[in-house]
Symmetry: C2
Subunit: 143 residues, 2 copies
């Protein structure tokens, strides 16, 4: 999660500081990405989606059943659904997102009866640090 | 929707026959795409996501507030959330998807209190044709 947090900081000042890392069961880091929404004009370029696409490209497979994802913020419903499609084994996330999250908030994607793969979820890892990073970004933006 | 259905047929036999088209308010077609999940090993490469990325790239903007999307099947929760992020004005979809849909089924993304942009939704356009196309694909796959 510390590597993801460092990558999230690298997204500043143009992008919301969120990053995701995908690691295989053997400990190999397959991808590490931050948000790119504004940079590449792509509303789907959240850190999780960018990381999933890169890891799947590396594996030449749309599924990563032996892989875990670390992400600094609770994934939104788009990303949570993509994580399920990719068959990610374990999801570790940092700060909770009451406004935009889709795992523990909003549609709670993995708890939907129509969700066919539910990763194990470990929430609140380095929560204070991740939360503070986002808070600073939005305060600076408003100032 | 007929153009989207023709594109969906072009996805056969390797991909699930689903396609999406994005058109501006002046009637310009910005993108037309079918599912590419297996072809490019990308679990996020649903027709809607591919079409959104292409249209946003063309506009150099992550938002398309004057645009409408036509898609042959009810979008899943991932795609519905991406459609909301892109500020799509109107969403026309063909067949309903009770198993995987996220608009009229499952998490009903646009009805979530945390959803900040709800497109106007016109459902069931060329429903029989779209539904038959998918039914034939899955029957052939099982055979």
């Amino acid at each position: 999660m510390q590597q993801a947090l460092a990558k999230a900081r690298a997204a500043l000042p143009h992008e919301v500081p969120i990053a995701a890392l995908i690691v295989s069961s053997s400990g190999e880091i397959l991808s590490l990405a931050h948000n790119l929404t504004e940079t590449i004009s792509d509303p789907t370029a959240h850190a999780e989606i960018v990381a999933l696409r890169a890891a799947c490209a590396q594996r030449s497979s749309p599924r990563l059943p032996d892989c875990d994802m670390y992400v600094t913020l609770e994934p939104c419903p788009m990303c949570a659904t993509a994580i399920s499609f990719a068959r990610i084994r374990r999801l570790y996330f940092g700060a909770y997102d009451a406004k935009g999250g889709g795992v523990e908030h909003g549609p709670r994607i993995f708890q939907q009866p129509t969700c066919h793969h539910r990763p194990e979820v470990i929430a609140g890892m380095a929560e204070a640090e991740s939360s503070q990073l986002l808070k600073s970004f939005f305060e600076a933006k408003r100032a």
